[in-house]
């Protein structure tokens, strides 16, 4: 209602109707707001109800939270509100998509030096990643996306080079993708991807694939499931949600000179000579 603005039939401002009610409820001595919670069971009768509430883990200490909203401005929490909105009750970490970079924690710590609200698991994980490798042994391992996110540029490039070199071009990742609308173009363009070659142009083949579905990917993970060579394709998309694609692969197929240079270098890393072709052709077209 609040989001719809004017209210039929009186054309009252919706917020003007709602806000006093909300303030009233919030400040009522007998009312406690439980956010991100679900009612599991209600028993008893009027005047004597018993309610079982499940409070989900938010990784936020609500007594300490000041509602500054700094954490929601980092890339990784899923409270991407539009400008000005800092709905404290929506600040939570979706464990399924958290790559545990710790940026939200950092933001919280910086804003509230004394009493930071994001405390428990998220904060521990943040400190975990900063431990030297020998101390991490025997403790919870990092996720793959976390590992990649923490790599420096060179090792990240080497990682992808190695993983993507496993590709046998079965097109399984493309064929099973629910958001890939087939038009036969990109991956079958002989100018970019030379037909009949194993592995197909590394990393161009997978970059083109990832870009094609960048905004549409629902992280269903079918691409990774379908990959006979176990390439961590899902990690590409997880990272691309959170970080600009160029930092996933360290290159972006744009047109500025530096980027193009990186692309050419990446392509040249392959031992076979004819892989230079795509870059050369692009230059001519330009």
């Amino acid at each position: 209602m609040a989001q719809l603005d004017k209210t039929f039939p009186t054309n009252d401002c919706a917020m003007c109707i709602l806000a006093p009610k909300m303030i009233e409820a919030n400040s009522h001595p007998n009312i406690e707001l439980l956010t991100y919670s679900e009612i599991e069971k209600v028993s008893g009768e009027a005047g004597n109800f018993k309610v079982k509430v499940k409070k989900k883990a938010t990784y936020v200490d609500w007594d300490k939270c000041t509602g500054c909203g700094e954490c929601s401005q980092t890339q990784l929490t899923d409270v991407k509100e539009s400008e000005g909105e800092t709905w404290v009750d929506r600040i939570r970490i979706d464990e399924a998509s958290c790559i545990q970079c710790g940026d939200c924690t950092q933001a919280c710590v910086e804003e509230n030096k004394e009493k930071h609200a994001i405390t428990n698991v998220a904060f521990e994980r943040r400190s975990f990643t900063e431990l030297p490798p020998e101390e991490r042994k025997g403790r919870e391992p990092e996720t793959l996306a976390q590992r990649i996110a923490l790599m420096d540029e060179k090792s990240r490039m080497d990682f992808w080079q190695r993983e993507l070199s496993k590709c046998i071009k079965c097109f399984g990742c493309r064929d099973v993708c629910p958001v890939w609308i087939y038009d036969g173009a990109e991956l079958e363009d002989a100018e970019w991807i030379k037909p009949g070659q194993i592995p197909p142009a590394v990393p161009l083949f997978q970059i083109i694939r990832a870009y094609r579905i960048a905004g549409l990917c629902v992280n269903c993970g079918m691409c990774e499931e379908a990959c006979p060579m176990d390439i961590p394709l899902r990690a590409i998309h997880q990272l691309m949600w959170r970080q600009p694609p160029e930092s996933v692969f360290e290159i972006i197929p744009g047109l500025d000179a530096e980027t193009k240079n990186k692309l050419v270098q990446a392509v040249r890393k392959q031992p076979k000579a004819e892989k230079k072709q795509p870059a050369a052709k692009r230059e001519r077209r330009k």
């Binding site: 070199s165 046998i168 071009k169 009949g196 194993i198 031992p271 076979k272």
Partner: protein
């Protein structure tokens, strides 16, 4: 509207991935991966994903054809079978049963191969029955049978994942057995060491810890060199050798003659790499050897296989999980076709035709007298046809006009036959020479079983009705056999044939459709209805009792390069096409990737001959000449060129020679001398 999902087995390589065929109103609409399949885990390769596309191709043969005045005319089944009965009967009467040759097929089911073998032996009365295993793993069947007593992959595919050291020799695993390649990479992720020996830089080489690019044909020397180092460093498994093997002293003496310096000179590999490989393999807890055509397709094929067996026994890497000597069989049912006795010297289950007891068993079961003499092999049949002693041939689902060495010779041989019948799903290069062509069924239109490379027997299920007037191959063979007076061919279904196979074949005794349909994974030997199948062979004892070492000497390949023919030609396959391309060249997705062949040549050699990338060149051998596009690459040894054999328009086998291994009769596809020159039409 009827829709169904039919679980079946991929018709391409020997991995034996299962998937579902999606059927809508008797038409196949797609392939759906099967997540519960142990091998593919729901992740088939590109050939598997597109394996339904050729089934409904307009080129499919839809009725029997007879050649009249040089043209094929459709005829009825009755007419076709009458011609066959008359012609084959006549040849048998006039020239004796051995004037007829039969080729079974590694593409067809176990049941069909068994029936074809029974037809040749019981109805025609000849042991002249063979199939294309002669051209791929004949040396394995002979070599491993001599060393261990059983000529098959010793361990199973999933076990590869658990190895500490994987030694790949002469196998382009990622391209030819993608799902085994994936297992190799998984083992590598877990920390296994990978050694690759191959003259070509195949895609798996970039993951290798040690890469040994040896000269084609020097495998024995390389393996002897590795064994020499293992012995001199005292890494051999002495207990294993003492308890479970024989003939070790002889091997020890022989191997001493191969010091690393000499080996490196002959094979052309780096000594440090050789030492590294020997150390890794020798020290590994569970080492697994994987090999393929690079070992077998030589005049020394059996020697090569024996050397692999020697190496495994020397370090005790056999008879345990994730170890062994593992020949990767190239076709969906080449293992099965061998098991079914579609070979000139054995009945099903490798029971020798010269063994009176085995013969008596089959004679009793079939109620006929069976021939005693060992028959002709594929390679010998073409020679016999040319000589005139072989008058008629019945070829089921094979394409020797592309797959056999020296095609011009094959062409002469086939055209000199009095009568040739080809049974296939498409009008192949070979079928064009036939007098009568019979339309068989693809894997989607019949019931049966395929045996994958790791001895795993799996069910092939019928998804749609046969296309046009085509018939399942087992039905054609049994109808023909009945017409020719054969007894015991009244099968109502493929299942009945399997029951007969189980009765007569000890290693298949416990295998039945009922058990397979219940989802049991059965790898032979499976001795009884209760037997769970065998994951890895030679556990406590070798099949032949003790493992036998063979002291083998390095012999040079039959045809070495000289001044006139300075290059070594080695042939092979590629990811996107399959064998002679009868099926894959009709699949748009695959044909798009690789529409034609090429010759791979080293950058240095290309520079010397001033050959540019993509230029048309002439490749000539003593037997023929082809025109082909050049692919200049650093991924191949200087002095060696590579041509895939899939493509009829630039057929590598026009060049290859007919030099064969004396024991296994396998031709040397991997080494022949050629000349490369500029001057193709557009060059």
């Amino acid at each position: 509207m009827n829709s169904d999902f039919v679980l079946t087995v991929c018709p391409f390589c020997g991995c034996g991935c299962q998937f579902y065929l999606q059927v809508l109103d008797n038409e196949i609409t797609g392939v759906v991966p099967c997540k519960t399949d142990e091998i593919s885990e729901g992740k088939p390769c590109i050939k598997g994903r597109n394996s339904a596309d050729f089934i409904n191709h307009p080129d499919r043969l839809k009725s029997p054809l007879a050649k009249r005045n040089g043209k094929f005319e459709p005829i009825s089944w009755d007419e076709a079978l009458n011609i066959l009965t008359k012609q084959l009967g006549e040849k048998k009467q006039k020239y004796g049963a051995d004037s007829v040759g039969v080729l079974a097929s590694a593409k067809c089911t176990n049941e069909e191969n068994f029936l074809m073998m029974k037809f040749a032996r019981a109805v025609i009365g000849t042991n002249n029955v063979d199939h294309c295993a002669r051209l791929c793993h004949a040396s394995t069947v002979v070599g491993l049978a001599k060393a261990f007593g059983s000529g098959a992959m010793t361990n199973s595919i999933p076990e590869v994942e658990g190895s500490d050291c994987i030694f790949l020799i002469g196998s382009n695993t990622i391209e030819q057995h993608p799902l085994i390649g994936s297992r190799v990479l998984r083992a590598k992720e877990k920390g296994a060491k990978l050694i690759v020996a191959d003259p070509r830089r195949t895609p798996i080489v970039q993951f290798a810890d040690v890469y040994l690019p040896h000269k084609p044909g020097t495998d024995v020397c390389l393996l002897n060199g590795i064994m020499n180092l293992i012995l001199s460093w005292d890494l051999a498994d002495k207990d294993f050798i003492a308890q479970r093997t024989e003939g070790f002293e002889e091997l020890e003496r022989k191997v001493k003659e191969y010091p690393p310096e000499k080996v490196c000179e002959i094979t052309g590999v780096d000594q440090a790499a050789l030492e590294n490989a020997a150390r890794i393999y020798g020290e590994a807890e569970r080492a697994s050897i994987l090999y393929a055509m690079g070992i077998t397709q030589h005049t020394t094929g059996v020697d090569n296989v024996e050397s692999c067996a020697n190496l495994a026994m020397l370090t005790g890497n056999i008879g345990r999980e994730s170890t062994g000597v593992n020949p990767l069989r190239g076709q969906n049912n080449v293992q099965g076709a061998c098991d079914m006795g579609a070979l000139p010297n054995v009945y099903s289950g490798y029971q020798s035709v010269t063994d009176g007891k085995a013969r008596a068993k089959f004679e009793k079961a079939w109620g006929v007298k069976l021939p005693e003499k060992v028959g002709l092999t594929v390679t010998e049949m073409t020679d016999a046809a040319l000589k005139g002693s072989l008058k008629a041939m019945y070829i089921m689902g094979e394409n020797p006009m592309l797959s056999d060495p020296d095609i011009n010779h094959v062409k002469k041989a086939l055209s000199s036959l009095d009568f040739l019948v080809v049974q296939d799903i498409f009008l192949s290069e070979t079928a064009r020479f036939a007098h009568v062509v019979l339309p068989g069924c693809s894997f989607a239109e019949k019931e049966g079983t395929f045996t994958a490379t790791d001895r795993r027997v799996q069910r092939v299920r019928k998804a749609i009705e046969p296309i046009g007037d085509s018939k399942p191959d087992w039905l054609i063979v049994s109808e023909l056999a009945k017409k020719m007076g054969g007894k015991g061919f009244d099968y109502k279904s493929a299942e009945e044939i399997m029951e007969e196979i189980a009765q007569l074949t000890p290693s298949y005794a416990g295998i039945s459709y009922e058990r397979l349909d219940n989802g049991e994974v059965l790898a032979w030997p499976c001795a009884s209805k209760e037997h769970p199948g065998t994951r890895f062979l030679h556990k406590d004892a070798f099949v032949r009792g003790k493992g036998r070492f063979f002291a083998v000497d390095y012999k040079e390949p039959a045809e070495l390069p000289n001044k006139e023919y300075p290059f070594i030609l080695t042939t092979g396959r590629l990811m996107f096409q399959y064998h002679t391309g009868t099926m894959t060249r009709r699949v748009p997705a695959l044909e798009r990737e690789l529409p034609t062949g090429f010759v791979e040549i080293n950058t240095r050699d290309a520079k010397k001959l001033s050959i540019a990338q993509g230029e048309k060149v002439k490749v000539k051998s003593r037997r023929g000449e082809i025109e082909i596009k050049a692919l200049v690459t650093d991924g191949i040894r200087p002095g060696v060129v590579f041509i895939p054999f899939h493509f009829a328009e630039c057929a590598a086998n026009e060049l290859t020679g007919r030099n064969i291994d004396p024991e296994a009769k396998i031709p040397e596809f991997k080494v022949c001398a050629v000349k490369v020159s500029k001057g193709g039409k557009h060059g």
